[in-house]
Structure formats: C-alpha cells, structure tokens
Assembly symmetry: C2
Homo-oligomer: 365 residues x 2
C-alpha cells in the first residue's frame, strides 16, 4: 500500500563499487531524500538507527524520517566536528543500539558529513560484528570521498584515525539537494577533492573541470551530478584494485601528505582539509616530473575554484618535521604521490630533503 | 644466517580456511613454539606485539619470545578471564600500540585462550583499520573453535560479544604441547566442541571419537592432532560457506542455545562453556527427529568424555525465559539447531513451548 514503491528515481546516476562480496551501489541525484527514498527496498529489517549531528538534524532529519515507511526509527544526534570523533562518541552509539535492543538486521543510517559517517560506520562495523549501513553524505567532500572506500573510525589522543575498520556500506545515497545549505568554504573543499581525481587519474575529466568550474561554483545540478559521479567512479576504480590500501590506493593521497602537515601546523579547523589539500597538491605537483604547462593548469584550476593556493608560514621547514611523524610514513621513509602527467600519478620514495624543502618554499616557480 | 630458516616442521597438519582474499592456514602439531617457530616467515614487518594473560605468560611467553628472531618484540599481559573481556581492556591494547608507535605492518600475536584471542583480535581488527594477526591458541577449546571463523570482540554491560568484528587472522598456530598444562576441566570443554563437530557434520568422525575417546582423555599426541585437525576442517568448511553467519553457519550453535541459557542461570564460570554445551547438546538431540539409538550414542560419547550430562535446576522453565532474550533469537522466534541424524544438522524454528519444555525436563527418555 506504499505509494512510493516502484516509483522511478528521476535524474540520477548509479555507480557500482566492485569489491567482491562487499560490492555496493552509490546513487547520486536530486530529490532522493525528499521524494524517492524507497525505504522498503533499502532497509531490510524492521528497525533502523539514524545517526546525525546537531548541524544536520534541524535541516534534514524530518524529511528523511518522513520518507521511511513502516519501520521503527530511532535517532541519535551527536555533536558536530572532528573534536567529537572519539571512542566516547562511538561508545554512546553502541549504548544506544543496546538500549534499543538492536539486532543484526538493524540498519544504521549515517546522515551527515565525513566525520559523522566515519563514526557511524565504525559503530556499524563493530556492533554484533557488523550491521547493515547506509551512508547519506550531506557534504560535497563526503559525497566524493568518504562515500567510497569503506574507511571508518575514530581518532585517538595520539593520532587521527588510529582506531577504525575497513567496512563497506550497504549503499550510499548522495542527494545533491542537501548541498544547497552547505557553507561555501566547505563546498569548495569538496571541489578540491574533485580536482584531485582529475589530476591523478583522468586528464579528460580534468579538462572538463577547467571548462565547467564556473557552473560548479554556482552548484548547477546536472554538472554537479556529473562531477560527483565521475569522482566516485574514479575512486571506485582505484579502491576496487586495492581495497585495503596495500599499494595503488595510496595515490588517493595526492596533496594529502603536505596537506596533513599544514593542517597540523595551522591547527585543525583553522585551515579546512580541502583547503590544505589544495595547497598540498600544488607543492606535490611542483615536485613532480610534469612540464610547467601542466603544473600551471593545476594551479589555475585550483584558483578558479576559489581555493587557497598558498599559505604564509613562519617556518616552512617545520612541514618536513611534521611529515616525518605522519602515519603514512612507512618504515620511516617519506613517500609522496607525484604526477607523471595530468591524469597519471605514481608513488615516489627517493626524494632528498632539499628537493622537498625547495618545493615547499617555491611551489609556483 | 638464521639456522631455523628452511627447517621442516615435524608431525603437523595444515588446514586451509578458504575465505576468498581472507584465506589463511592453521598449522596443528607438536613442538611448533619450542622448536620450529619460523618468525621470519610468519612475521612480515619489523615488530610485533604479543598479547597474553597472567596465566599463560609464565608458562609460554619466554619460549615464544626466544623463537622470534630479528624482530622488535613488545608484550602486553592482561588479566585472565571473561570478566576482563571489555572495552577497557581493548582500549589498553590500543594505547600500547600507539605508545610503541605501531604501524600497519606491526603483527599482533595472541598467546592465550579464546577470550584472549577475541580481545586481541578485536584490537588487530580496529587499529589502523587492521593489523596482521597471528593466533596462538593455548586451550583445546580455542584451538578447535575460536581459531576458525574470525569472530573477534568484547562484551558490553548489556550482553556478551555485542561489540566486535569479523576479522580473519593471518595464520593460526596450534601447538598441542601447550595443552599439557591445561586443567582437566578446561581440556574436556574442548572435547565437548569436538564431539559437536562429529554430531552436526560427520558421522564417521563421530564414530572415530567413540573409538578413540580414551586416548584423547590422556591427550595422546597423534590422536589429538587428528581430532583438532578434523574439527578445524569441519568448521572451516561450514564457515567457508557462510563467513558472516547469515545462514548455514548457525548449525555451529548446536547445543549452544540451551548451553548459554544454562551458563546464564548458573552464573558464568560456575558451569564452564563446554560443560553447558555438552548438556545443551543432549537436550537439543532430544528435540531432534533422530532415533533413540543415535540419541543414546551422543549421550554415551559425552559421558565417556567425563563431561557433565545433566544438571539440577530448581526451575527448569526458567531456561525458556532466558533463551527468549538471547541475541540469537532472530525476530523473537526461538531457533534451534537439531539433528536429522548423527552427522547432519538443520535449523528448526517451529517448535511449541511444550515440546521445548519437555526436552529440558526429560532429556534422556
């Protein structure tokens, strides 16, 4: 008797993430939550727990709940921000699940950005050895990044993301309508990751971004759906080859080694992740064996997205020290993702400290 | 320059657990720790963390450490017992890993029984999204049960094993020599699980157990290696068909629904897990559509292992109430693993409360 059953989704793409028995679909489109959320199909058991945060809940919790039919819905609203990505918050979600007498058919729905998805996903991964898990990312960054790859977890006082699992969602629903309320600065952080996908994997997509950045900046729906879909497809291809990050998947960290160091030095929150990655990509590109035309195209695209492209540090050498303590430093050797050309990345371990320092200090020359 | 490299293991079996990209070997034999622990082959990275407990450490930690060559060895010794299978203990292991600056190549070695393996495995599953994990089970029960299947986790105040992951070890090393110090009561708990494998899956193995139980009771090495190997192979076959316990794997719970209820009523520790399962198997067999000859063979085999086969309860109806709150009660329906014949199990959901109560009260008739 549900009038929504069988209704066609309008204006959407479906990307399949192929990971053997852990494969799942990502649906990207508009009006997915408000109109077409087909809960009968998507939620297998009788009950679900929506995990959301104080920022997202007032905006989208009601619409999400109103479109889940014939299920028992429980909600837990956590505080917003990286600062709350802790064992303590995870533990609260676990307590909520035991209090509602959740069983292995209880679906966890993560309604929020990347941090929220990481915590909720870790709860899904670790309650009764794994619950069905639907991600509904509400930031552009989460839609193009954390929605693919199954990384879940929380921070430890000694480091970010030290605690976590690889755990794939049952499905991801990326509704671009929810991006309308996303602050501009956060939206642009998503654009930085989108630019990254073009740079490391697909020069045609990179060129498409050069031609369409102005439309993306005004969040034009069709262009946005295409950019998210292509980004997810690229990440899905890479993750499909290396689910557990033993090799190729590392190219997704293009710009991130420098970016993390910048975030660390500036203090988390001061410089947003995507902003730090944008600057990091320019430094990494400078270190790369690409020609100056391509290097300048990357700088121009980042500038055209209104992303920061440089930063004033009192002591740029500090970045090198910070990078040496980064967890991605395997066996103490500094590893960088560099570009062979636009659209092709590789891992480089044999760089001298002088080369690295030169790129940090003169990224534009 | 390591004299052990290339040395042949003597008197051992290797069982392969086939789980796609998560497959691993179980080596079962004697003198595996004292003589042949080939750490160069088994530990990939430069360092390892041995997780052990206060009971096992004085017995086997030194021999294990002395046979790990050219690696940095760290040790954490936790308290022994189900009571310490908590988030707090898990958290201590995580803190130890961050303190030793563990990376993704750091191997966790669990040296202990099932509880220890569960906690250490959960730490391995959740640190940096998964570390290499070697299980060295030191009880018969752990060697035949928790060494196959990848169940890891800790208890929550609201229930046992509510928190955990499926996480497969890199390998399992079951040295029967360590069983020489195992208390008799705990040893027999392992025999109860071994009997279970024959009953649910392999009537020939069941018959072999009938003929060899006296040798197993005196821990005769060759017989023991065979019994452990066959048990692991049976469990590996079942788990290989249903890694995430969505269907067939449930037959491994033969005797466990009643067993858990008994443990719960008696108080954990009063009746050991294997003892409760032994009694539970007899009740489940009574409920089963097998003939009385086979039912009596099961009772006789359990008696011949000197396992308890009955228990005095003031109110046996209490068992039914407890079972209704057990987490394995899917959608509130009581599910039982029954025997179609010795060697063949099935799941039954349509039993009346009267039938269940009758079996509890008259398991031998």
């Amino acid at each position: 008797m549900n009038p929504k059953v069988g209704r066609k989704l309008s204006n959407h793409n479906v990307i399949k993430v192929n990971l053997q028995d852990r494969s799942y679909p990502i649906t990207i489109g508009s009006a997915l939550l408000s109109d077409d959320f087909n809960s009968d199909k998507w939620i297998q058991g009788k009950d679900c727990l929506i995990v959301t945060n104080e920022t997202v809940a007032p905006l989208y919790l009601d619409v999400m709940k109103s479109n889940i039919d014939d299920k028992t819905i429980e909600v837990i609203t956590i505080k917003d921000g990286e600062h709350y990505k802790t064992i303590d918050t995870w533990s609260k979600i676990i307590d909520k699940l035991t209090a509602m007498r959740a069983n292995r058919d209880t679906t966890i729905i993560a309604l929020g950005g990347g941090v929220l998805g990481d915590i909720a996903g870790f709860a899904a991964a670790t309650f009764m050895r794994g619950l069905p898990f639907i991600q509904v990312p509400t930031t552009l960054l989460a839609q193009v990044d954390s929605s693919v790859g199954g990384k879940t977890g929380v921070n430890h006082k000694d480091g970010k993301n030290l605690i976590g699992s690889f755990y794939q969602p049952t499905m991801v629903i990326s509704d671009i309508d929810v991006l309308s309320t996303l602050p501009d600065r956060e939206y642009k952080c998503g654009l930085a990751e989108i630019i990254k996908y073009g740079a490391i994997y697909d020069v045609d997509f990179f060129a498409w971004l050069e031609n369409n950045m102005s439309d993306l900046l005004i969040r034009a729906p069709k262009k946005l759906i295409y950019a998210i879909s292509r980004s997810c497809q690229i990440k899905a291809n890479i993750v499909g080859e290396d689910e557990f990050e033993l090799g190729k998947r590392a190219i997704l960290n293009f710009g991130h080694t420098f970016g993390h160091a910048l975030e660390n030095i500036m203090g988390y929150g001061e410089l947003l992740h995507g902003e730090a990655v944008a600057i990091g990509m320019i430094i990494a590109s400078k270190l790369s064996p690409i020609n100056s035309v391509e290097h300048n195209r990357l700088i121009s695209l980042i500038k055209s997205a209104n992303l920061p492209h440089k930063i004033e540090l009192n002591d740029k050498n500090q970045m090198l020290d910070v990078m040496k303590t980064d967890k991605k430093v395997k066996n103490k050797k500094l590893r960088f993702v560099l570009l062979r050309s636009l659209g092709e990345a590789f891992i480089e371990e044999d760089l001298s400290e002088n080369e690295i320092l030169d790129a940090i200090n003169n990224p534009f020359s």
